[in-house]
Structures are given as structure tokens and as C-alpha cells.
Amino acid sequence: MTSREPRAESRDRETTGSRVPASPEALRNPQWKTSGASPWQDAFRRLRRNRLAMLGMGILLCFVLAALLAPWIAPYPFDRTNLPYGAKPPTPTHLLGTDELGRDLFTRILYGARISFAVGILATLVSLTIGVTYGSIAGSAGGRADHLMMRVVDILYGLPFMFFVIILMVIFGRNILNLFVALGAVQWLTMARIVRGQVLSLKAREFVLSALAIGVSPARLLVRHVLPNALGPIVVYATLTVPAVMLEEAFLSFLGLGVQPPMASWGSLASEGSAAMETYPWLILFPGLALTVTLLSLNFLGDGLRDALDPQITAHYWA
């Protein structure tokens, strides 16, 4: 996924849309609070018109709900084996068939969804935390510190990060917590660049100057005034990070470095299925299908969000 630095024009709208508060009680509220709702509602309206994005969102909601409710809707316990039954193709009692140990594949996919979504979301949170912190420090420090910090990002960019995850997993051991951290730790680079760019351009704006003039501390300025205005690109990029991370989790699980049995993620299910592909093709078909549909939905939603929050880029590049 190539990500682009958001253009400056896109942000102008967010603040020009704000009305100057006239009444005294409105003046007491920080400006971004009163003006923030309008562009977001605007974006949501644009998003709702995007059929693909809404379809993706609907599918995702179903999957996430199914994953959350897995213990209640799953027909069998996820680790219940039935050796005499063995691997059978889909039947009405086992909707998606069973594996060699007689475990119900539908149940395993439901529980796998929990792991896959958890990895996707938590690793994205890790990358969000590192990226936003790093980017906003670089952007607000400016000068030599900014230069140095961005060169570090450039250098890290020049390295194949998938192999870093492999090394991290190999060194720190194969547990699920390391998986979140390792995946998040290599995904923050683009986020840091985006946030830095946003902070740099927002820093030059009048509302930041006026906040400085009334003596707001630098940390508070960043957290309360600058970052909320950079939220659009951050949200868009975070949405696009989730599928990337899920894909990497599947990759690692396929290599045997990810989730360990008896737990299952979609990647490890597909990996187990691939061993017996010629005799039991459904074992690889359904986990892979679930993963592909989810990734596609997330990408549609991410692209839709980008279009909604940043219509000028859309018109030019993605029309």
C-alpha cells in the first residue's frame, strides 16, 4: 500500500468551516471543539454515499460481531476434537467441514477471527502510538532534531521490514504479545511521516500562534490544538494499517512464527490447511476466503475514508 502525504488544501476546509463564536459562553470554549463536528459530519455524509466503502463496513461489522459473539454462536468448543469423525467436507452439522482431528472449521474460523482482528487492531494501536508520538515530536521540535529524526525514519524505510518482524519474533519468542509489538514496531514509519508533515503545516497557522500568545504550554498546544486538527489523515492511515498488519500476521502464522496451537488465527488455519490441500481443499479455501474478504473490506473502507476526508486528492488520483 502506498500512502501519500496529505495535501495542505485539505485542511483548510476544516477550519474555514468554523463560525466565529459571538456569544461570551461560546468564546470560552476552545475553537476546535465547536467547529470540529461540521467537517466530520460532512465526511461521514460523503462516506455514506460511497457504496463500496459502506459494503466493506457492513461486512466488517458482521465479522467483528461474529468474532465477539464467538462463544455464543459457535456450534462447538473450538478445541473439541472428534478423531473417529476425521476430516469431512461441509455438511449441515459442520457448516464448513472439519479438519483431520474432527474439529469444526466454522468454529475454528470464528475463534480465528478474534485473534486476527485483535492482532490487526492492537498492532495498529502500537504503530499509532509510536508513529504519532515520534512524528509530533519531530514536527514540533523542528530544526536539527527534526532533521535527525526523519533521517532515522528514512534509513529504516530502506530496510525490508517483514524480515525485521521475523528476526524480532525469532529473538523475543513466539507469543501473541510479541506479535502485536513486533508488527506495530515496523508499521509506524509512514504514520510518523504523515503526523510530522501535519504538525509542521499546522504549526504555521494563526490559531496555533494565538494559542502560543496566550501562554499555552508546548505539550498542551500539541495535544489540544495541533493533533486534533491532524486527526483526519491519522484515522485514514490507521484504517489502512489494519489490513496490512492482518496480512503480516497471516504471513507469520503461515511460517509458524505467529499464533501457536491450539489457538488459531486465519493465517495459521490456512497454514494447517495447506498441508492437506489436495485431499481436503475446504481447509484452505474457507480460512483464506475469510481473510481475503476481510482485507478487501478494510481496504475499501480505508479508501472510502480517504475519499471522504480528503476529496481533493480523490478527484485527482483515485477517481
Binding site: P160, F161, I166, I167, V170, L255, M277, E278, Y317
Partner: protein
């Protein structure tokens, strides 16, 4: 789409269901070939052995398709975006108003300028290809560094994983360095002092 799933589905559909193509390995057992360079296509050409050439080419198709599809999609998307931007430039309108055929305008005037960002992305795709090679080689039983890494991970032979990773990282960095240097060759406006 995850690359291992694509590879497995290709192998399953074309190899198992249709039976058109082999699902793994580099050469059929029905042909014999004395390895010289160990590049089987070169070897079969050197030995003037058409059966071995056909067999090694047939064994290449599925892994090649599986590995190349995703980078191809990324590069195609980048080319489209870049070309669209270039096509809105003034000099394109100038070229069109001179009455040049559209093909010449696109190929000679627009494509050349649109290729710069595409080159960067292509260089970055090499990293993806190398990571994808781990999966592709594993699925199609090709004895390369990727399969070696996979087997070392399975066997917990971590010095090999680290060494192979370092090697691949070096290749990736070199490729990106070459892409940067090629910039100057493609675009005479860029000079490195």
C-alpha cells in the same frame, strides 16, 4: 489477498483440479538433465534438450504468477496515478496541439515523466518480492533462500534465519541504491555531485 493463499489456490486449481500444470519442484522426473549452471532453463538450452526446457518452463509458470501478481497490482496503480498527474500538464497539451498521435504523446512525452515515482515503488516492491519468495518457494518446493529460511524457522535454527535475513536486507538496500542512481540516468535534470 495473501500471497500464500493465492499460490495455494493456483496450485490447487491448475495443478490438482485441472491437472494442467505441476504443483511444485523445478523439473519433472521424466526428463534427465546434467546440471551445469543449475539454472535449469540455461542448462536445458546448453544441452539442447527441448523436453527439459518445456518441463522447466512449465514448472516456472505457477510460482511466477503467484509471486508477481501483487507487486504487479501495486505498480499498475502507481503508474496510473502518476500518469494521470502528468497528463494534466501543459506540455502534454502542447504535444497534442502539435497534432502528434496520441500514442506518441503518451509513450514519449507522458510515460517518461510518469516513470520516476513508478521506479521508486518498483524498487520498494523488491522487498515484498523477497518476503513473498519465502512463501512461494515453500508452497512450490523451490530450493531457494526462502525455503531455507522457512525450514530454519521450523527447525529453530536461528543463526541461519539471521544470516539469510541479513543477506536479503543487503540485497534490498543495494536495489534501492541502484534505483536512486538510475534516477539520474532517467531524468537528466537530476544530478548527483
Amino acid at each position: 489477498m495473501p500471497i500464500f493463499w493465492l499460490g495455494l489456490m493456483l496450485a490447487w486449481f491448475f495443478g490438482v483440479v485441472l491437472g494442467w500444470l505441476p504443483t511444485g519442484f523445478r523439473l519433472g522426473t521424466e526428463v534427465t538433465l546434467v546440471p551445469v549452471t543449475n539454472f535449469y532453463i540455461l542448462d536445458s538450452l546448453l544441452a539442447r534438450n527441448p523436453a527439459a526446457l518445456a518441463s522447466s518452463l512449465r514448472h516456472l509458470i505457477l510460482p511466477a504468477v503467484a509471486l508477481s501478481t501483487i507487486p504487479m497490482a501495486v505498480i499498475a496503480r502507481m503508474t496510473r496515478a502518476s500518469l494521470l498527474e502528468v497528463l494534466s500538464q501543459d506540455y502534454i497539451r502542447t504535444a497534442e496541439s502539435k497534432g502528434l498521435p496520441q500514442q506518441a504523446v503518451i509513450l514519449r512525452h507522458a510515460m517518461r515523466n510518469a516513470l520516476l515515482p513508478v521506479m521508486t515503488v518498483t524498487g520498494l516492491q523488491v522487498g515484498r518480492l523477497l518476503a513473498g519468495a519465502i512463501l512461494t518457494e515453500t508452497i512450490f518446493s523451490w530450493p531457494g533462500i526462502g525455503l531455507w529460511i522457512f525450514e530454519s524457522i521450523q527447525a529453530r535454527d536461528y543463526p541461519i534465519v539471521q544470516g539469510a535475513t541479513l543477506f536479503i536486507a543487503t540485497i534490498f538496500v543495494m536495489v534501492n541504491l541502484i534505483t536512486d542512481v538510475l534516477y539520474a540516468a532517467v531524468d537528466p535534470r537530476i544530478k548527483y555531485d
